[in-house]
């Protein structure tokens, strides 16, 4: 490239207590380009972004803006110098309105001047329109879906009119059509000369939109900033994980003769599900496909007894049952649920690895007077933690301090240790890097082969096709049909769309989303 970089960072080091997160990283960003920043969880992507945006001060190394050496004393400083960011974590104030969140830094011109809300809402409009977000700027953010919050956050970053805009996993909770819309905007920004940095685990997206790339591995450059030309997916993966991707292909498994473990017939729930009929056999992986918000997680929680089933029949191992609480589902019927919301519902972040992995089996292990020792729990849990290769300094480590991949492994290990015969797995690979994802897929297959019945909830079509034996399609709190997995992507996605379009609910956007 002949262009001069707008921003360059050289030999950036960042040390945290006990960890050297960045060990001399280089990156250079050009105007009018979308730069992919890749790496596995823990490779240092987020740390680098925080250094570039002034959240962290680098321990060593220099940064150049327009060729001149610079340093950012705070995020405000970085913003003032034209560096904007959409962080991976939510940074919105739920009770504030959309407009207030967008203009948080510039609500009023002076301290005592009242905020002009009408003006504020008017000013917010164009940024929402740019993202084709049809929401009233006066709506409190707490009333929005997760996907829309993400878009508001992007609108906020756009409103700063940054010259360098960093996006840390902006598409994690977006549907395909929302992602497409975002990409259109990013391309427009690029053409206007903005330098964009795009972080994502979804390599398809990276290949679609990015023209340059930097790959990090273990806090160092696995490749310097370079053009995407001539780099294919395999090379990217190789640079990220240091070896090529394990083939995680679907294979046909015959489970037709196996007995049913969980069956639903004509089930309706207080949450609004109607006429749900579904059956999962021993050793079978049944996919439950649908968009976010169509009632998949809600169905899972109803099966687990958290919400009441109001009609129809629920069978466990052929016997009709009424499940009154989650405790009953787990302890009496051997059902388990791996939540999509790992940090909120899956794990107790402030407790130790041992305490988390053992929760479902405490009752089982308890002796006289309900006594329970760490030793006993450890004995049962350790083999599963080892099997899943959970990386932790000790079992006493606080779970909140571990990486996302390790946290997910612990939430899986917890149910393996509990020995459940039916497991609901809800969006297992959200926020998980490629290596861990492939590993999880392998593990779920192995579990099924050993006889566990699995209901897999996912909006990731490749994941569905890699794992499921059959795919049940859900829309608007109903099952719209079932598609056997033949392993042929186009065929299956077409059938799934047909089922969803067979419903009276009009979802034109879904047609776009279905194109792989």
């Amino acid at each position: 490239m002949t262009q001069t970089p707008i921003f360059r960072a050289q030999s950036i080091e960042k040390a945290f207590p006990g960890v050297l997160a960045l060990k001399g990283v280089d990156i250079s960003l050009h105007p009018g380009s979308i730069h992919a920043l890749l790496g596995e969880n823990g490779a240092g992507k987020s740390t680098l972004i925080k250094v570039i945006t002034g959240v962290h001060q680098p321990t060593a190394g220099t940064m150049y803006l327009d060729g001149a050496e610079t340093r950012f004393t705070s995020p405000r400083d970085a913003i003032a110098k034209g560096i904007g960011v959409v962080h991976q974590e939510r940074n919105l104030f739920p009770r504030f309105s959309v407009a207030e969140n967008i203009f948080l830094e510039q609500l009023a011109t002076s301290y005592l001047k009242p905020v002009n809300y009408a003006q504020l809402n008017r000013d917010a409009r164009p940024w929402l329109d740019a993202l084709e977000l049809d929401i009233d700027p006066a709506t409190p953010v707490s009333e929005l879906s997760v996907a829309r919050m993400q878009l508001v956050e992007i609108a906020k970053a756009l409103s700063l009119k940054s010259r360098v805009l960093l996006l840390d996993e902006p598409t994690a909770s977006l549907t395909s059509s929302e992602t497409d819309r975002l990409f259109t905007i990013l391309r427009r920004l690029r053409d206007d000369g903005t330098s964009l940095v795009f972080v994502s685990h979804k390599l398809e997206e990276v290949q679609e939109i990015c023209d340059r790339v930097t790959v990090l591995r273990d806090g160092a450059n696995a490749c310097d900033s370079r053009s995407m030309d001539g780099v294919d997916r395999d090379q990217l993966v190789q640079m990220m994980i240091g070896r090529s991707e394990g083939a995680a292909a679907w294979r046909h498994r015959d489970t037709a003769s196996h007995p049913e473990v969980l069956g639903l017939t004509g089930v309706s729930t207080v949450l609004g599900h109607r006429d749900i009929t579904l059956s999962v056999r021993k050793g079978e992986i049944v996919g439950l496909y649908g968009l976010i918000g169509v009632g998949r997680t809600e169905l899972a929680k109803s099966i687990m007894g958290q919400f009441a089933v109001t009609g129809g029949e629920v069978r466990v191992n052929g016997t009709a049952v009424q499940i009154g609480s989650v405790a009953e589902a787990i302890h009496r019927h051997g059902l388990g649920y791996i939540s999509e919301d790992r940090k909120g519902e899956g794990l107790i972040l402030q407790h130790s690895v041992l305490a988390n992995a053992g929760v479902p089996i405490w009752r089982k292990l308890a002796g006289a007077l309900g006594s329970l020792s760490d030793g006993r729990v450890q004995q049962v849990v350790t083999p599963f933690l080892n099997k899943l290769e959970v990386k932790t300094p000790s079992l006493a480590q606080t779970v909140g301090n571990l990486s996302g991949g390790n946290q997910q492994k612990i939430s899986v290990a917890k149910w393996l240790a509990a020995g459940v015969s039916f497991l609901i797995v809800d969006e297992p690979s959200v926020g998980i890097d490629i290596k861990t994802k492939a590993y999880l897929h392998e593990l779920l297959r192995e579990l099924a082969d050993n006889g566990t019945a699995i209901l897999l909830i996912s909006s990731d079509m490749p994941e569905m096709i890699a794992l499921a034996d059959r795919i049940a399609v859900m829309d608007d709190y109903r099952i719209r049909g079932e598609v056997p997995n033949t392993g042929v992507y186009d065929d299956i996605s077409r059938k799934i769309m047909n089922h969803i379009h067979g419903s009276e609910v009009d979802r034109t956007e879904f047609a776009e989303a279905s194109n792989p």
Binding site: P17, G18, V19, L20, K23, V215, R217, D218, G219, A220, N221, A222, C223, D224, M239, K301, M304, Q306, S325, V326, A327, A329, I330, H331, Y337, S339, D341, G344, E345, G346, L347, I348, L349, Q350, H351, A355, V359, P360, W362, R363, A366, L369, G370, S371, L372, S373, P393, S394, T398, K414
Partner: protein
Amino acid sequence: MSAQDTPSAPSPNSSTGDGRQTWLRFFLSNEFGLILLIAAFIVIFAVSTRGFLSPFNLFSLGRNSAVNIMIGLSMMTVIVTGGLNLAVGAMGVCAAMAFGWLIEVLGLPWPIALLGGLGMGAALGFINGWTVVRTGLHSFIITLATMSIFFGVMIFLTRAESYRAIPDVFSALGKMKIATYLSPLLLVTLACALALTWLYRFTVTGREMLAAGASPAAAELSGIRVGRIIILCHMLSGVLAGMAALMLVARNGAAIPSMAGQLGQDWLLPAFLGPVLGGTLLQGGKVSVLGTVLGAFLVTMLSSGLLMLQIGAFWVQTFLGLMLLIAVLLDKARRSYLTRRNLA
């Protein structure tokens, strides 16, 4: 330059440093800080006052801290759930009055009346817990309301009269001195503290209480009956409040409606001081029984020592308030130090 090799990162916590880290962690713990403070103040008071270490003063110090520690433990069992129990005082007094009524009006033997009193505490705790679980409101609001209700109903039923026909055997417990300076009440409290330590460390129920307090949603989905556990925590709080009040009855030789002040408010400061000084997280999910014991003891000792220095009682209150503030600030500094050193 293309992909370059990087040496793998050394593991931050190698196994060799573990033993030393455990010690370091203990020396940086809240409990150790409290022990140091207690030791320091013992020296100060022993030097600057006359008779601080006399058997009589040690006896009354032990007896007072027995009650204060119990009050702190009562609050602690609810703080574990991320809640508060403002009704500790009211519940305690109600339990004591029930005890007195069972003896004086029904003529029951005192051990049975004792169980009745504790049962009253548990029942009131059940009301608190059940309401909190059912309404989903914060226990702050619920217990603020029930504090008034419990106290009001109790005054109405007893016509604000004391029960004074407490059997001598029972009130003897309050006056008894083991080896001239030790009150049996302190032993009762320490036994309760040991039982609670065992509960939280070595029983399923205790662990479930901590899990439910740290993250109700995650606990529920892991098969813990969170509602039931929270009710249980409130009941435990009621029983411990009852224990504290019954110890006061033993000391006073009567069950008096005003023994914890108007609405039982006199208990609130000791109830919070113990757990907060002791490092029990107000957000719930973490508990330190030893810390609560040490914290409540420190507070009792300070009040007694300051009074012996003949500082006015109002200064003692001011001093205790300051203590609370300083303790919380120190704890915050300690925690951020621990996080920076990667020890927490």
